[in-house]
């Protein structure tokens, strides 16, 4: 028998267990092992006093499924637990999660500093739509860390970026940019859709709000649209006078101060109480359930996504039809070392590569692959390809395309979890077709 004293260790559940169980107690749901789909619009009140208490945030519970729903609530808690956050709010899509985040943070006359390497739809939101609400943005290239600092103005309310830029795979130096944000008394908001909490937990690197399009790897099966914002709980909204809607009495709830009352969950409480009430981008319980099914196998899928991606990087890097490959696992990728630090469990399954022959070759490749699907999504279990200049980013003019780091030969690849040999064989078909126009023109 050993005399060695047993070291005390917390026995809170780990990532894989939380993926399956967090946010749900079967004994409170008729013993149902699976999370029930609460397909309902509204919820009975016990009496008038109970109704008033729910409306006034005096007690927890559900009123109307635009504001909250028990199935959606399980998803919210589950993602908050996986991210190491205090609270989360699920929405109908990733874009609505970004919009809700901005509208919870900002008022007309405010300013944001935004990474220039973003999904095309997000660029348009910041560049064209938010100015209509009086919110202006300054775009900074994600590797220009000092540029983020210089772009901060008196009325700047936050910094926003994708952890790994879409589609060029530029990585934000999150710890340094978080420090810049916090020194200025503003939060850092990070879209970590490409990583999922399995690859990176942005709160551990200084982020304050994390946003996901759950439609992608989290749900994973290309079946359902969903988004979420997650709160880290560390940001002190009361440290300065920049966030009066968080700290001052709010007329909509009898003079409630969200920061005073809810502290580390204040942002989420405001986003729900005000944003879901007024904008209403609620997630359907069926879609929440579909996403929950995906999250149950998140770590299993992400391992396979990443191993397949690394195989594809090797294959593409040695291919005669490929001009260049961008993936954080490539040693000469500018952010290779940063990726090791921020993405220790894998560098993700998004690859950008340039096809020799430019735009025509790219079009021929896309039109001839059979297994890889040509569509606008990423993060499906299946392999997906698109030509950004003619697809996701097609609404951008030439100058904006260039600023976003896009080129006409770029193909965006979201590596699926099929057998790796089948993906390579399919790409061979695409590359053969891509070479044909050049052979013809050379004759």
């Amino acid at each position: 028998m050993s005399d060695k004293k047993k070291e005390l260790k917390p026995n809170t559940y780990k990532f894989d267990t939380l993926s399956l169980h967090a946010g749900y107690q079967p004994h409170k749901n008729a013993g149902s092992r699976q999370v029930p789909i609460y397909q309902t619009t509204s919820y009975l009140f016990d009496d008038v006093d109970h109704a008033a208490a729910l409306f006034n945030l005096e007690r927890g519970g559900h009123i109307y499924s635009r504001i909250s729903n028990p199935t959606v609530g399980v998803l919210e808690e589950r993602v908050a637990s996986l991210e190491g956050g205090t609270a989360a709010l699920a929405t109908s899509s990733g874009m609505s999660a970004i919009f809700l985040t901005v509208m919870t943070l900002c008022e007309a006359g405010d300013h944001l500093v935004v990474s220039s390497q973003l999904y095309g739809g997000t660029v348009n939101l910041f560049r064209l739509t938010l100015p209509k609400f009086g919110i202006k943005c300054t775009f900074v290239k994600p590797r220009d860390t000092e540029g983020f600092k210089k772009a901060i103005q008196k009325n700047t309310k936050g910094i926003f970026g994708e952890l790994v830029g879409n589609p060029g795979n530029e990585i934000m130096n999150m710890p340094e940019i978080a420090k810049i944000a916090h020194d200025a008394g503003i939060p850092l908001m990070v879209d970590a859709t490409y990583q999922t909490p399995y690859l990176c937990k942005p709160f551990e690197h200084g982020a304050d709000i994390v946003i996901h399009s759950l439609t992608k790897w989290m749900a994973g099966h290309g079946s359902s649209m969903a988004g979420i914002l997650v709160e880290g709980g560390k940001f002190d909204w009361m440290q300065n006078d920049k966030f009066p809607t968080m700290t001052k009495p709010y007329e909509g709830y009898h003079g409630l101060s969200f920061a005073e009352e809810f502290g580390p969950t204040a942002f989420t409480m405001k986003a729900r109480a005000e944003g879901m009430r007024d904008f209403g981008p609620c997630l359907s319980p069926q879609n929440a359930w579909n996403v929950l099914q995906g999250i149950e196998t998140l770590s299993v899928r992400m391992k396979k996504h990443c191993s397949n991606a690394e195989e594809m990087v090797k294959y593409l890097s040695n291919h005669e039809s490929v001009a260049w490959v961008s993936h954080p696992s490539v040693p000469d990728h500018p952010d290779h070392e940063l990726a090791k630090k921020l993405l220790p469990n894998g560098r993700g399954s998004m690859i950008a590569f340039g096809i020799k022959g430019g735009k025509d070759a790219g079009v021929a490749f896309i039109n001839n692959v059979k297994l890889a699907s040509h569509l606008a999504n990423v993060g499906d279990t299946r392999t997906l390809v698109i030509h950004p200049a003619s697809g996701t980013h097609s609404q951008m003019d030439e100058a904006t395309l260039k600023f976003a780091g896009l080129s006409h030969d770029m193909i965006r690849l979201s590596v699926g979890i099929e057998d790796i040999d089948d993906i390579k064989n399919d790409f061979e078909i695409g590359f053969r077709a891509a070479r044909k126009p050049r052979l013809v023109s050379n004759q």
Binding site: T12, H27, A53, P70, T86, K234, T265
Partner: protein
């Protein structure tokens, strides 16, 4: 609201309602290393139903200034001073965990001031695990992680927060880490460990008292809570199944329902 006690600024949540001296006062006292926010699912109800609900941040905790008080006896006197500072002559007290030691001691010291006493996850003594105490006093965040693990029952570890979207283990962790651990949790744990007067203090209490206990409470087990309650004349006991030490979050609705009935019966609100 903010006010001063012994020269130091005190923060207390009023549940989102203006403080009104005409209304009866309920003071909520948090547990070791935590803040007023642990009471958010109880205070707002009372604030909107005829009471001044004052969830205080103990000195050096949350948004209150000053240094953490080093003994339960000092904290008990401080709670009495809070009643004076806000211009009241009497109050109901509600305590959780360490807050139970504080409110029991306060009630025994100031019997004419305290009208009802509600104890959640309470015991007559809370001796600390020496290793946990050492971790907290040495500013090791593992102390918070261990506390959050032990403070939540098996069901609470899964989550299922009554407020949609909140994950309470991470929220509690964030509250306990919001200030320097050794100056809050470390000092509080030492104060709990040193306090020996709980059972004697309980024998002196004559006001209506309620103990809410939980079957899966590892920090203040039911038998310890019952032992304390047995020493308080006429004490009521309510036991929640399948719940841990953080009952005010894990079973917030049940706690509020029991608390509401007890306080409104024994210390009626000002009619709205």
């Amino acid at each position: 609201m903010k006010f001063k006690v012994n020269g130091h600024e005190v923060f207390a949540s009023t549940g989102g309602r203006q403080f009104d001296k005409k209304k009866p006062l309920i003071i909520f006292v948090h547990g070791s290393g935590l803040t007023h926010m642990t009471w958010v699912l109880q205070t707002r109800y009372f604030a909107f139903h005829g009471y001044n609900a004052l969830a205080v941040d103990l000195p050096g905790h949350g948004l209150s200034s000053g240094e953490s008080l080093k003994s339960i006896e000092e904290m008990a006197d401080w709670v009495s001073d809070v009643i004076d500072a806000v211009g009241h002559k009497e109050a109901s007290l509600v305590g959780h965990s360490q807050g139970c030691l504080v409110t029991v001691e306060c009630t025994s010291r100031y019997p004419n001031k305290i009208k009802t006493l509600s104890l959640m996850g309470g015991a007559g003594a809370i001796p600390m695990n020496p290793e946990l105490l050492s971790l907290a006093e040495n500013n090791d965040p593992k102390a918070v992680d261990l506390m959050m693990d032990w403070a939540h029952g098996p069901a609470g570890h899964f989550g299922g927060h009554p407020v949609p979207g909140l994950y309470h283990i991470n929220t509690g962790t964030m509250l306990a880490k919001s200030r320097t651990i050794q100056n809050t949790l470390g000092v509080d744990f030492r104060a709990c460990d040193n306090y020996k007067n709980g059972f004697d203090a309980a024998k002196k209490i004559k006001c209506p008292t309620l103990s809410i206990l939980a079957t899966d409470d590892k920090m203040c087990p039911v038998k310890e809570g019952k032992k304390l309650a047995s020493l308080i004349q006429g004490s009521q006991v309510d036991i929640i199944d399948n719940c841990g030490h953080m009952m005010l979050l894990e079973e917030a609705d049940r706690v509020l329902t029991v608390l509401k009935k007890f306080i409104t019966t024994n210390y009626p609100p000002l009619s709205r």
